[in-house]
């Protein structure tokens, strides 16, 4: 599938169809997740009663910002090794969407923390491993975009930014394990869906109630499709931009 789409012409044909489908399905899934999360599922006393309804926005954005960074690093790796131009176009398109979802995760977490922990994230951030590692992720996305904008030629910018993106991937597993393996360094609750390195939860703490998990998965799927549609739209914009640059260069050469 990926090698099929690696051809820019095929990508343009595929994305013309995929973008409206992604937007439509994504919006339906998000609406379904929020409808159930806000109006149907019962409050969870373990997670602060009705306040836990914030997770149907916060958790999908948190999963997605890590997933988008992994995609950014993957696309950068493909460009760095095989110099495939469309991979670079994809990496460039992923960065602003990833930064947006990281900001969403951060802001919604700050509001949730204000009530749930009794303290805003601004009071906790320096001493907390989860909050700090997510802040680093946000700066990695911003750094990637700044680096691309700062260097003169496209090739130089792509090379430097790809190296940054590949090195930065080390932060993604750090975010994940920060609440499981280093529980003493964070106020954030441990993972309740997949935990790595923490003791197996027992009894009442064993895993998340499937009623909540289903809505999280609907929300994650919906935001994932929406993000994919936005990324394809930005990739199309980049392809049009490159075609316009080539046309302009030809025109200047002829004149």
């Amino acid at each position: 599938m990926l090698s099929y789409l690696a051809n820019p012409l095929r990508f343009m044909r595929f994305s013309r169809l995929a973008i409206p489908i992604g937007f439509g399905l994504g919006l339906i899934m998000i609406a379904w997740s929020l409808y159930n999360g806000l109006f149907i599922v019962p409050p969870d006393a373990k997670q602060g009663g009705d306040l836990m309804r914030a997770m149907f926005t916060h958790v999908p954005s948190a999963w997605l910002c890590m997933g988008l960074y992994a995609a950014l690093a993957g696309a950068s790796f493909v460009w760095y090794i095989w110099r495939h131009e469309l991979a670079d176009v994809a990496a460039r398109a992923i960065a602003p969407i990833g930064a947006g979802y990281t900001a969403l995760c951060f802001i919604t977490g700050a509001i949730w923390g204000q009530k749930g922990w009794g303290a805003g994230w601004h009071n906790l951030i320096l001493g907390d491993s989860r909050l700090m590692s997510v802040l680093v992720l946000f700066f990695l996305f911003l750094g990637y975009m700044a680096l691309r904008a700062a260097l003169e030629t496209r090739q130089k910018a792509a090379r430097a930014a790809a190296i940054l993106a590949m090195i930065g991937i080390v932060n993604v597993p750090i975010i994940k394990v920060s609440v499981d393996m280093w529980q003493t360094t964070t106020i954030h609750q441990p993972s309740s869906v997949i935990s790595i390195g923490s003791p197996e939860p027992r009894g009442e703490d064993a895993g998340m109630n499937p009623v909540y998990l289903q809505q999280l998965l609907w929300g994650f799927g919906g935001h994932g499709l929406l993000a994919a549609a936005m990324i394809m739209m930005l990739m199309r914009s980049e392809v049009y931009g490159q075609q316009a640059d080539r046309a302009l260069a030809l025109k200047l050469e002829q004149s």
């Binding site: 998000i30 969407i97 936005m230």
Partner: protein, 50 residues
């Protein structure tokens, strides 16, 4: 509308942000794609006229 008591302001503000920020990103993506395509079409039109 359900009554979330003291939590309502937190739950609703998070939900609204969760819709507004992605909507802004959709607008940004749409605008960029639209402007790039318009620029390319303008250049192609100028080429045809020349």
């Amino acid at each position: 509308m359900p009554d979330y008591g003291d939590d309502a302001i937190y739950v609703w503000s998070i939900t609204i942000l969760g819709l507004a920020l992605p909507a802004l990103m959709v607008g940004y993506s749409f605008l960029r794609a639209h402007l790039s395509k318009a620029r390319l079409e303008r250049l192609q039109k100028e080429d045809e006229q020349a």
